[in-house]
Symmetry: C2
Amino acid sequence: MSRVVAENLSPSPARDSVPFFDRREAMEMAGVGAAASPTLGHLLKVVGDMRKEVTGDETPAHQALEMRENGMEPRSLPFVLSFSNLTYSVKVPRKMSWPTLFRGRNAATASDPVTGETFFTRTKVLLNDISGEAPDGEIMAVMGASGSGKSTLIDALANRMAKESLQGTISLNGEQLESSLLKVISAYVMQDDLLFPMLTVEETLMFAAEFRLPRSLSKSKKKMRVQALIDQLGLRNAAKTVIGDEGHRGVSGGERRRVSIGTDIIHDPILLFLDEPTSGLDSTSAYMVVKVLQRIAQSGSIVIMSIHQPSYRILGLLDRMIFLSRGHTVYSGSPSNLPLFFSDFGHPIPDNENRTEFALDLIRELEGSPGGTKSLVEFNKSWQTMKRSGNPNSETTALMSTYGLSLKEAISASISRGKLVSGATNDATSTSLVPTFANPLWIELAVLSNRSFTNTRRMPELFGIRLGAVLVTGFILATMFWHLDNSPKGVQERLGFFAFAMSTTFYTCADALPVFLQERYIFMRETAYNAYRRSSYVLSHSLVALPSLLFLSLAFSATTFWAVGLDGGSSGFFFYFLIIFASFWAGSSFVTFLSGVVPHVMLGYTIVVAILAYFLLFSGFFINRDRIPPYWIWFHYISLVKYPYEAVLQNEFEDPTKCFVRGVQIFDNTPLAAVPLALKEKLLNGLSSSLGMKITSTTCVTTGTDILQQEGVTDLSKWDCLWITIAWGFFFRILFYFSLLLGSKNKRR
Amino acid sequence: MSRVVAENLSPSPARDSVPFFDRREAMEMAGVGAAASPTLGHLLKVVGDMRKEVTGDETPAHQALEMRENGMEPRSLPFVLSFSNLTYSVKVPRKMSWPTLFRGRNAATASDPVTGETFFTRTKVLLNDISGEAPDGEIMAVMGASGSGKSTLIDALANRMAKESLQGTISLNGEQLESSLLKVISAYVMQDDLLFPMLTVEETLMFAAEFRLPRSLSKSKKKMRVQALIDQLGLRNAAKTVIGDEGHRGVSGGERRRVSIGTDIIHDPILLFLDEPTSGLDSTSAYMVVKVLQRIAQSGSIVIMSIHQPSYRILGLLDRMIFLSRGHTVYSGSPSNLPLFFSDFGHPIPDNENRTEFALDLIRELEGSPGGTKSLVEFNKSWQTMKRSGNPNSETTALMSTYGLSLKEAISASISRGKLVSGATNDATSTSLVPTFANPLWIELAVLSNRSFTNTRRMPELFGIRLGAVLVTGFILATMFWHLDNSPKGVQERLGFFAFAMSTTFYTCADALPVFLQERYIFMRETAYNAYRRSSYVLSHSLVALPSLLFLSLAFSATTFWAVGLDGGSSGFFFYFLIIFASFWAGSSFVTFLSGVVPHVMLGYTIVVAILAYFLLFSGFFINRDRIPPYWIWFHYISLVKYPYEAVLQNEFEDPTKCFVRGVQIFDNTPLAAVPLALKEKLLNGLSSSLGMKITSTTCVTTGTDILQQEGVTDLSKWDCLWITIAWGFFFRILFYFSLLLGSKNKRR
């Protein structure tokens, strides 16, 4: 237990007992000692020099450093996270159905720890009076069956819970942690690997470095940090391989997990929390992951993780463990004390049986018994007290009072030793010790856009599918509405074409929904630790979308404009292209916004399709604006389809000299359409004389403007419609920003 | 190893070493010995009596039975599955990209076992000369890392591969197994639990019993079998609980897995194959599952399963194991011989280390080394030979030649002993020994429909969402098109309403896609072992859908018909309701068919939305039939929306006495619409005199039939349209049937 915080490269006990393992390790992890140490040493020098320049004050840090390095004191641990009497409870609605009340299974749930009861809710205690300490250099494992409170405890320690619902204290070196400081010096590794599938391991880590390492660090220093990390994670052989997904072959599951950990520890955090980092991995991969965690701990970090059934070899890497059962501590101490503990409790662990497996089964057994785990909880308390009083030096309880450094001193010492702690300066107050974001907005924007581009460029099939959809629909519309004539029927068909074409642009945008939803999880993880501003993300998301939207608009407008025979020549085409581009922009903004508020792909898609259908219904095509009932007219004005639809109508029919009904065509949409041409001419003459004006068979009786009048498209000019469509796009992007602000609070209540 | 096939209820060695475990087991598995034995004994008597009546021949079976029970011969195993020299290879496309050729990672893949190489493909050997034997009463475990060929071997033994690609022989009691016989006497338990979420455990097993147990067995006998199975599986406490899913709380993961196994072994199969039955379960649940498998084996079945990292206690339940590495056997024998084997190989297993974990790591280590696992494969061969020659009685190699029963005798003996083997009769030829399906079509239909109804009735929210969607759209349409007038504008709006309303019915059907897709997996599993005919499934699927479609149609037609002011009174409403019902029927058939051919929900939804949009485009609403270009007219006729759209148009406008344009309204859709009324009347008088007929301001100038003429809706009567819509529904159901026939071949190539 007397571990010094410098890199500990002596072989671990587990490796000794498994002789054949050495070779593989040596192969996979080559260069850790050689590459990692000089890099960190280098950075240490740089940061040290910087500090000297800025403040001139380096004594306390170096004193601490030298004390440890020369004196070799057994208690020279700079960081200790301690937590005491953590209690956390939630209110759950009481199930009121009669059948469940009388069912046998409820006997088990009735023994749950419940305190505050009302008629409709009952309080469930998820953590009950948990205390402990975790020093740096060590791995602390939280264990227990599912539902025992493992993840809850990790969340509580990582400050991922609303403060008011958690009782008890958590402190680092005796000082309570402020949320902003904790965000910078800690990392939380989630169970899911949320990585961009088409970036290589090296690129993934490099982007993480650009987000989280201070701007003062040069690009080459950041590269060195990434290379050192690749060696530390044992990822040298996979560095140039893409992460991969279902459709693309990439790195293995264990490598992916280590990349995930790597992106979170790029800034060399002091506190590292992991939620079941080995779940879903085979035993060798799991061992490699925990081995990496040990190395991280030994570089001066506190590592706290939850783990389910560690193998024998992984157990050898753990320094401390806390066993939970329904929110109570049933054991806390080192894994090696487990056999003694259980034999004292009267249930000796049989030879050859895995200790943790035995413990989990015994706990489960007790949970099912009438008395519950009460006896074990009580036994643990008395055992801990007994052990502490018998051997005061074997535990770190009195650690802080004897050799403790203040938090500020410890962080300074840590920076001097090579810990990066992004952008740290040696300011007086601990809150301004570190800035909230590592980079200014424009750098974030550049890095985010660069990453998005790299990722999408390597998945051309996604854009290909959207382009294909646009081209197929364009082709069908072009051949269906091929060279429309200028008769009244042709005018009617033009209206149909415009309504269908404008809806298509919006529907095509819905195809991007899954991509946005997938990316949102990465966004949430990254903004949770302030990797970048939410506004940068929204901006870069918009910027990156534009080129492909431009291309789609061009493809669609070029396919349809001349084929259908639309009016206006090249300037008409230009406006047609612009309004389609604006529609794509507004549509993709709308879908992006929905991806920010809808939790699930299918639900999102159903909602998009339904809302777009209503937009079309209220656009003015099915019912003209002047015929819409007054209680629905508001929906007409918020219909996104209205504006591009009216814009293309005006673009088509704005020419006052173009004729759509000429001479006897005046009877086309009337009951007289069926009478012979000669009679129609006679009727036309009659009309001429009645009206007192000369109407011949070539006289124009309906121009484009008349049609606009008929369709009620009079309230806005075509340029107004264009601007309003573009404005809708911006409006939804802003809503997207707010949805991210509100939606990415990842704290429990 | 000298295990007798009768129920073995003595405590296993693993249980002895874990004293506290006894209590829990006694609790959870209460009644196994008490309830299961009498039930099976009862059935034994029934089947025995039946056999006596039918054939009069019972001597060989009972001789075998008595020989075993009284003589206690060490080799009285009735069933032995043996497989020898199994080799299976696939052609994989060779990766031609240059970067991968020069990358370091390829060193590992280059050592893959490859034989037949061409320039574009290379042959990958997934199984290489695997031999072994599995007697009943024992569990054989296939182990190895992922990709070692575990699942491939299980698939090969379970006859889930195309015969031509698999070399080697598989025989039961020395006779090659015919596929139809194997289907009846075996069961294959997949890794995924595919169960209806809203059925209870008991109901799930009861439905399985109704599908798979012979018709000759009475309902009460089936119930007894289910109750016995519930006890055997240790599911007594969960019997009345629903299975559950994400939205509904149900049984635990381990219980769910045991229910899955239960549905597959309801017919008490002789051969039971399981693909990683413990994956995803915690150690206690996993132990319970394997304990259940041991009990099944001891009731006279051969159990073969793949397993990844069994815990120490599970290892104690396994009788034989085969370790695979890249398709080669690296160890085969009992788990207890593993330490001896590896110390002979020069890598002794350290104390306390899990044997299988050690073995997996060593194999992985060797796979990464230059020589591969060749040394271990060779060592295993020589070790097996040595062991066999040294101790001929300890292995079952010479088993069949000494005490073997023929397959027919063994199956007869098994039936007498209480094995059910669905519908077994003691016929002369082994193929007709058992019928393909347990029940006639009409019983299957009743059971399937009953199950579907039970499941959907317990998820009213699914129907609620669809009803909500229909009612909301109905409400919006009703208020938007409130009391349309009979002017020319009103006629235009009516057309829009009909097009939108008819498309809505189709779009609403798309919401059911995920449910169908989910159910399809259950269907594929069940038809794989001939639980019922595919035709029964298609029929029951159609029948069960009808009531809810009826309700949706009624809701939609009642909401809109009078609100919009549609024509025809009660008979008009009745036809309107009928055609909407027919649309729902055709739409749901179309979506059902798509669910049979589309593998993924998102893809299916996108395709449905796109196709329905094209259906609408070609329905005749956007372009009248007589104006559609000739090269697209075929699409007009396959557009599902055309028929209901034309039907409602005819229903609305068929009345030749109803007037839509009267007097001066004749000018409404012309440029003259804007002139003052007095002038219009003057113009009308002029027209009257020119035409030589009296047209006053109340004269009807356009009737419904004129409008139908204008819209080109003349080729079919409204009843024709109704029948054609219904026929489309049947057509897609038939296509669905064929898609199931083609799509549910679950064999590897």
